[in-house]
C-alpha cells in the first residue's frame, strides 16, 4: 500500500502507534495524537473531535465516514488546517501545525493540502485555467509558469480541451474535475476531498471516483470525507467516526 512512501532517517516517536503497522519506518502524511476539538457556545461545550489518534501514510487512499453530526467535518477541517485543534498534536508531513500563526497555516494549506469541496467552489467569473492557477498565485509563482502548470493539471484530469471554459459552461462532473486539478496544481502532500460527489449524479460520481483511483494508483495520498458507502468502498481504508471518536478503522477488501 505504501508503494510511494520514501523511507526517511530517524524514526519519529509516534511512529509506533498501532494504527498503520506498515508505516513504521516512514513519516506519515497525517499524524494525529490524541487530538480534540472543543467548541464552546455559551455554557454548552461540544466535543466535536474527541481524543482522536490516527496516522495516514503516503500513498494511502482513506475514506472517513460517519453520520451527520459525527464530527467528520470538523476532523476534515483540522486535517486541512482550516481549523486548529484545541488539544493533542497534529503533524502534517512531519510539521506540527498546532502552534502556527494564521499566516503560516495559510502557507501550509497552500503547499501541503489540495482541497476538493462538495460545492466545487470555483470562481464563476474566471475560466478553468485561472481557477486552477489560483493556489499558485498565492504561492508566488510567475505568470507564465502558472498558466503552464494549470494547463498541465487540467490535462491530467482530462480537461485539456476545456482550459478556457468558465465553470458555468461545464457539467458538474467537469467542474469537480477542475476543482481536482486546482487541488493538484501545487503538488500537495495530501488531497483532501469533502463529500466530493455529494452534488453529482451517478455518472459524474463514477467519473470523479475513477479519477481518484487513477491518482491513487499514481501514488497520491487521498483522504475522502463521505457518508456514501459506495464512495467509501472505492478507497483502500475506511475510518468510521461517531460522536467525535473513531469507532472502526479497517482496510477495504476488494478495491476496484
Amino acid at each position: 500500500m505504501s508503494l510511494w512512501s520514501t523511507p526517511r532517517p530517524g524514526t519519529p516517536a509516534w511512529a509506533d502507534e498501532p494504527a498503520v503497522p506498515a508505516a513504521v519506518a516512514t513519516v506519515p502524511v497525517i499524524s494525529l495524537d490524541r487530538v480534540g476539538k472543543v467548541y464552546r457556545s455559551g455554557p454548552v461545550e461540544v466535543r466535536a473531535v474527541d481524543d482522536v489518534t490516527l496516522a495516514i501514510d503516503e500513498g494511502e487512499y482513506v475514506a472517513i465516514t460517519g453520520p451527520s453530526g459525527s464530527g467528520k467535518s470538523t476532523l476534515m477541517h483540522v486535517l486541512g488546517c482550516l481549523d486548529v485543534a484545541t488539544s493533542g498534536v497534529y503533524r502534517l508531513a512531519g510539521q506540527d501545525v498546532g502552534e502556527m500563526s494564521e499566516e503560516d497555516l495559510a502557507a501550509v494549506r497552500n503547499q501541503r493540502v489540495g482541497f476538493v469541496f462538495q460545492q466545487f467552489n470555483l470562481l464563476p467569473s474566471l475560466p478553468a485555467w485561472r481557477n486552477v492557477e489560483l493556489p499558485l498565485v498565492y504561492a508566488g509563482v510567475g505568470r507564465s509558469e502558472r498558466r503552464q502548470r494549470a494547463i498541465m493539471a487540467l490535462e491530467r484530469v482530462g480537461l485539456g480541451a476545456r482550459v478556457d471554459h468558465r465553470p458555468g459552461e461545464l457539467s458538474g462532473g467537469q467542474q469537480q474535475r477542475v476543482a481536482v486539478a486546482r487541488a493538484l496544481v501545487t503538488d500537495p502532500s495530501l488531497l483532501l476531498a469533502d463529500e466530493p460527489t455529494g452534488n453529482l449524479d451517478s455518472a459524474a460520481t463514477d467519473d470523479v471516483l475513477h479519477l481518484f483511483d487513477e491518482l491513487h494508483a499514481a501514488g497520491r495520498t487521498i483522504v475522502v470525507i463521505t457518508h456514501e458507502p459506495d464512495v467509501a468502498a472505492r478507497s483502500g481504508r475506511v475510518v468510521r467516526v461517531r460522536d467525535g471518536r473513531i469507532v472502526a478503522d479497517s482496510a477495504v477488501e476488494a478495491a476496484s
Binding site: 486541512g80 502557507a107 497552500n110 467552489n121
Partner: protein
C-alpha cells in the same frame, strides 16, 4: 502575491459587478465634481473681483465721504454724507500739500439714460476731470479725452466706454451727439476696453466734465460736492506717504477733532482687495464645506458597498483562504478595490468638474477657475476616501475564519 496581481484581481472583481461599482463611483464622482466646481467658482469670483479692483488703476487711493447722522441720530452708511468737495480735490492736487500724490480725479456719478435717434441706453454717467484717464490707467481707442477747456467752459461733451458706444451707435461714435436729460452732448472720444475679465462695468460708462455733471445732471446737495476722489500715488513705495498726506490735509481742511473723527475715509486698493478676498474666501469655504459633505456621503457609499461585497463574496474569501491566501493578502485585496473605486471616482469627477467648469465659464460668463493643484488634490482626496472607507470592510474580510466563510450559503 505581487501588487500587480492584486491590482488585476481587484480590477476583475470591480468589472464583475459593473453596475454596483459604477454607482459607487458615481457617489465619489459627484463629490469630487462638486469640490472642483465650488473651489473653482470661489477662485473665479476672487479673480474677477481682484481684476476689477486692479483695473481701477495703479497705486490708487480712494477717498469717500463719511457717514451722515440724521436728525434722529440715525447714522447713515459710508458715503451717505456729502462732505467731499472739489475744493478738497484741489487741496490734494497741490504738490506743496501732498508731494507724493501724482494725480487727482474727483468724481460724481449717477445712473442715467442716454438717448440717440436710434437707441437709448442706461449707464453710469460720471463727471470727472482730465486726470481720470491717468489715475484709472485707461487709454483711448478713438478721439480725445476730456481736456481742461471742457472743464472751464462746462462743455457739453462726453467720452463713452466702448460697450456704451457700441450700444448707442452703429459705426463711428466720435462727432455724433447723444441726449442726456434734454441736453445735447457731443461725443469727443471712446475709451479703449479695460480688458479686465468680467469687468463689463469698466467698459459701460459715459464720462462728462465734472462741472457739467455737477450743474446739469447730478447736482443735489451743493453744487461743489463730489462722491469720491481717486488719488494716484507717485509710486508703489509712495503709497503710504500719499495716504498720510491725504489724511492730514483733509483733517485740517475739514477741521475734524479727535471727538468727531474724520468725516471721510481713505481706502487703498490693497484694503479693498483684502476685504473682497475675505468675503469670497468665506463663500468658498462655505461652498467647499457643502461639497466636502457630499464627498463624505460618497465615502460612506464606498464603505457600504465594500461591506456588501465582503458579505456577498464570503465564500470566495473562504476559498481563497483555503487555497493559501493569508489574511494580509485578503485585506490588501479589499483595500485595493476600495482605493480603485476612489481613484476612478476621483479621475472621472475631475474630468467632469473641469469640463463643467469650462462649459459654465462660457455659458454664465462667470469664470470658474479649476487650478491644477485643486484638481490633483481632489483626486488624492478621492483615493484617500476610498482607502479610509476600505479599512473596516477589508479588516472584516481578513478576519473571517476560512471554515465559517466556506460554510455560508
Amino acid at each position: 502575491m505581487t501588487w500587480a496581481e492584486t491590482l488585476r484581481t481587484g480590477l476583475e472583481a470591480l468589472r464583475t459587478h459593473r453596475l454596483r461599482s459604477g454607482l459607487t463611483v458615481l457617489g465619489i464622482l459627484i463629490g469630487i465634481t462638486a469640490v472642483i466646481l465650488t473651489v473653482g467658482l470661489g477662485q473665479g469670483a476672487q479673480q474677477t473681483i481682484s481684476s476689477r479692483i486692479n483695473a481701477l488703476g495703479t497705486n490708487l487711493l480712494v477717498v469717500t465721504p463719511g457717514s451722515s447722522t440724521g436728525a434722529g441720530g440715525v447714522r447713515g452708511g459710508t458715503g451717505s454724507a456729502s462732505t467731499l468737495t472739489t475744493a478738497d480735490a484741489d487741496t490734494l492736487a497741490s504738490p506743496a500739500v501732498a508731494p507724493d500724490i501724482a494725480a487727482v480725479a474727483p468724481t460724481v456719478g449717477r445712473s442715467l439714460t442716454l438717448t440717440t435717434p436710434d437707441a437709448n441706453w442706461t449707464t453710469t454717467v460720471t463727471g470727472t476731470t482730465p486726470q481720470w484717464l491717468a489715475v484709472r490707467a485707461r487709454t483711448m481707442s478713438e478721439g480725445r479725452f476730456l481736456d481742461p477747456d471742457d472743464l472751464s467752459q462746462r462743455a457739453a461733451v462726453t467720452v463713452l466706454g466702448p460697450t456704451t458706444a457700441a450700444e448707442l451707435f452703429r459705426g463711428d461714435a466720435v462727432g455724433r451727439t447723444v441726449i442726456l436729460n434734454g441736453v445735447q452732448l457731443t461725443v469727443v472720444g471712446v475709451l479703449a476696453s479695460s480688458g479686465s475679465t468680467g469687468g463689463t462695468t469698466q467698459d459701460d460708462l459715459a464720462l462728462v466734465p465734472l462741472p457739467t455733471a455737477q450743474q446739469r445732471f447730478i447736482g443735489s446737495s451743493g453744487r461743489t460736492s463730489v462722491q469720491a476722489i481717486y488719488l494716484q500715488a507717485k509710486s508703489q513705495e509712495a503709497l503710504s506717504a500719499a495716504y498720510q498726506e491725504a489724511q492730514a490735509a483733509l483733517l485740517v481742511d475739514h477741521r475734524a477733532t479727535s471727538d468727531s473723527g474724520p468725516d471721510f475715509s481713505i481706502a487703498t486698493q490693497e484694503s479693498l482687495l483684502s476685504t473682497a478676498t475675505s468675503v469670497t474666501q468665506t463663500l468658498t469655504v462655505l461652498l467647499a464645506g457643502i461639497a466636502a459633505i457630499s464627498l463624505l456621503v460618497g465615502g460612506i457609499g464606498v464603505m457600504n458597498i465594500m461591506l456588501v461585497s465582503v458579505t456577498e463574496r464570503i465564500r470566495e474569501i473562504g476559498l481563497r483562504k483555503a487555497l493559501g491566501a493569508p489574511p494580509r493578502i485578503i485585506r490588501r485585496q479589499f483595500m485595493v478595490e476600495a482605493s480603485m473605486l476612489g481613484l476612478v471616482g476621483g479621475l472621472a469627477g475631475a474630468a467632469l468638474g473641469l469640463g463643467l467648469a469650462a462649459l459654465l465659464t462660457q455659458t454664465l460668463g462667470q469664470p470658474i477657475v479649476a487650478s491644477p493643484v485643486a484638481t490633483l488634490g481632489a483626486i488624492v482626496i478621492a483615493v484617500l476616501v476610498g482607502i479610509v472607507s476600505g479599512v473596516y470592510p477589508a479588516t472584516r474580510a481578513a478576519r473571517l475564519a476560512p471554515i465559517d466563510a466556506l460554510r455560508s450559503e
